[in-house]
Amino acid sequence: MNDIMDILSANNLSKFYSKNKGLFNKQSINLRAVNNININLKAKESLGIVGESGCGKSTLAKMLAGLIAPTSGEIKIQNKGINNYEKYELPNHIQYMFQDPISSLNPRKTIYQSLATPLKYLRKLDDKEIEKEIKSIIKEVNLKEEFLNRFPHEFSGGQAQRIGIARVLLSKAKIIILDEPVSALDVSVQSQILNLLNDLQKKFELSYIVISHDLAVIEAICDRIMVMYFGDIVEKSDAKKLFQNPYHPYTNLLLKSVPIKNQKIEIQSLIETELPDPINPPKGCSFFSRCENKAEKCKDINPSETVKGNRRFKCFFPNI
């Protein structure tokens, strides 16, 4: 099923967090975070994962980057399972850019020191080469050389995010996971960073997995989009088609909820907004309680994936 062209793929990926019920109760309860997900990413493509807080998108992303071990399932990078990579080899292929640019920099290290780490440990360069690489990358992300000897707290959010981008690029990894790349930034700075990410992708032939709760941000940099709800992917589609015609009622609800200037949101005001209980997930469709299209059947049977053209969705009554 895996395409040879896929630079990254994951099959039946799940993550459950288990917790003992009590001090003397050995029985453990499972908390469902990510449930049986399949992902594939092509070279030079950018794939968006959109969903609300608690849907498992960050857990998914951290598993892909090797920061969290999955409970079950397999992740392959360049057709090689990530467990088959040498101990410190994986970061050469996949990198993760964190949401909060300031807290992802060590407060007691200068920017130069932070940027030198991947070069020293991943690429094993000597001091001279390190200096050369850093000076060239800092131009690439539009920062000044004099910033290098400063400490993280001296930077604005936008500048710190550029430093984060620089560090990720220095590893020469081709796959980059962007976790909410602009949500911590000021509105007027967001578009600068999004454009920079777009330009760098072309220049260095990168593949992105972009995680965001903001549909507009996802749309601006992604080719393909997956919509996540309660640990599951409910819809996969080309970005363009998804926004023109969302099939899954949840995607539709997300799109309709985005506030747009001079346009009132029209949604039912008394609709349930709570996610189901992750310890005791529902038998049927997890979106059942909030769905506009629901029927009796949805309550008991969890819909499996339907393929229609190059779109996939999990719903019995899609908005087609």
Binding site: E52, S188, Q190, Q192, N195, S257, V258, K264, L270, L275
Partner: protein
Amino acid sequence: MINFLKLISRNKLALFGGILLIIIFVVSFLSPLLPLKDPDVIKTSDRFLLPFSEGYLLGTDHLGRDLLSRLLWGTRLSLLVGISAALISATIGSILGTIAGFYGNKTDNVIMRVIDVLMAFPYILLALAIVAVLGPGLFNAMIAVALVNIPFFARNIRGVTVTIANKEFIDAARLSGMSNFKIIVYEIFPNILPVIVVTISTTVGWMILETAGLSFLGLGSQPPQADLGSMLGEGRSSLIVNPHTSYVPGAMIFLIVIGVNLFGDGIRDALDPRLSKGELVKPQPVTQIKLDNNVENNNNSFLSVKNLTTAFNFNNKLNLASKGVSFDIKKGECLGLIGESGSGKSVTALSITCLVASPPGVIVNGSVKFQGNDILKMNYEQIRELRGNKISYIFQDPLSTLHPLIKIGKQLEETFIEYNHQKNKEAVLKGKELLKLVQIPNIENVWNSYPHELSGGMRQRVSIAMALTNDPELIIADEPTTALDVTVQAQILSLLDTLRKERGLSVLFISHDFGVVSQICDRVIVMYGGQIVEEGKTENIMSKPRHPYTSQLMECVPHIGFGKRKLLTILGSPPSITYKKEIGCSFASRCLIKKDNCLNEDIKIVRKGDSEVRCLYPHE
């Protein structure tokens, strides 16, 4: 380093402690070089001489030994032993604590349980047991004191390490190919070093005391060697007849411990990031108000803010956060306040009821007239009477505004009882009615829950209910939906809109999002660099912004429905709050249509029809 010394010397007591310590250190460590008598030479003919006797400045002990010499030699020894013990236990304790905190799970469990067992013994008993096993002697006493204090360091450092190990920069280091060992050494250690130093500085005095304690019991230094503890022990037998043999070493111990503790506190104050940021300074209940001149405000709208200027006082320099903000809100109107970080929007909102934390906040100019009375001229009691009553707030993050340890119901009751002085019964009724009003399902359940048990949307509904408790007339909502998911945001916005219309509430709604403001506001103010740059009816500003900042900002916000593309941008980043006075338009450096004269003069806000704009070349 120089900064650090400056910080310490600002604290007079710490400076005193430091100087005291330096004197004691220098004198005692120079004792081999000083012209002192041999501390161990016995001369029974001179026994129990009083201080200031000829040849013996501090007198002699029961064997006629020179007390001054013994004191200095003894101090030297005690300091050496105490400090070595502190360093040993700091090293071992920190290593254990770091490993436990970093690896977590089983490693953590095993290490910390052993530490807990060590802690369960009374310390002196444990020390005695260790000395009993190893045999008496100063070196063994030092080992005992060091061992006994390991748990203290281990626990402290473990706590700090856990926090740091969960920070994103540790994950980032891992992704840079660093091994766990290198992460601990290069990433974690520099961050816990200040904590280690602080812990050492506050415990070293304690360890000197403990070593002295063991020597006093005869388990530390052995005769004839002198240390402070053994001197005390020897003096004890003649305490009644010749008290000076006990007073002399006693006074020295007192001076050392006092010096260490005062200096240690100073180090802690200087190194603790929370203290140096001023987070532990308790803010006053009302912002400091120092009005330069009286602002004439004859506007009798429901709320009229005129020339409101709020500054932050850092090192006696006033950094202006809002500069002469004027607006008014009519009864039942919803006014939106749009701006980016540093635009002064939140400061303006907080200044209305003098809630800006002081220090460092100061209101330096302006007038805030609410229903005809100037809030900035009221006393604390009058302002308090308004807050949460006639004027209430809804903040961005309900998790930090609701009390984490009190149940939702109790918190709602409190708000009600504070102003209505009624029985609990009525408060409960009112509270439940409010929860129903904000469309919370399963009210009984929520009433008995703690804030962390609710979802973000539910918590924000509770905050709204709380804001409505005392039938306010003005609600100030500071980014009330920013922390929420889009679907929840849509619900909360529609709820707020319905409530304010039903109850004729006036709302000041602060946001950075044009889309959100469009949903609920009648009029909009746009702020930039602490000033209002544009004001007008919502639909006019949204469809035809006149200030270049407003229009450029709107264009660069990504909208849905345009696909993958290059976005328009505004160069640079928003100005930060500074104390420097800048002339001209604060947006000029980022403006696409600026001309030379934009920087020559301060630009006045100009009214045209029902809108205002602060620009020499506004869009028409």
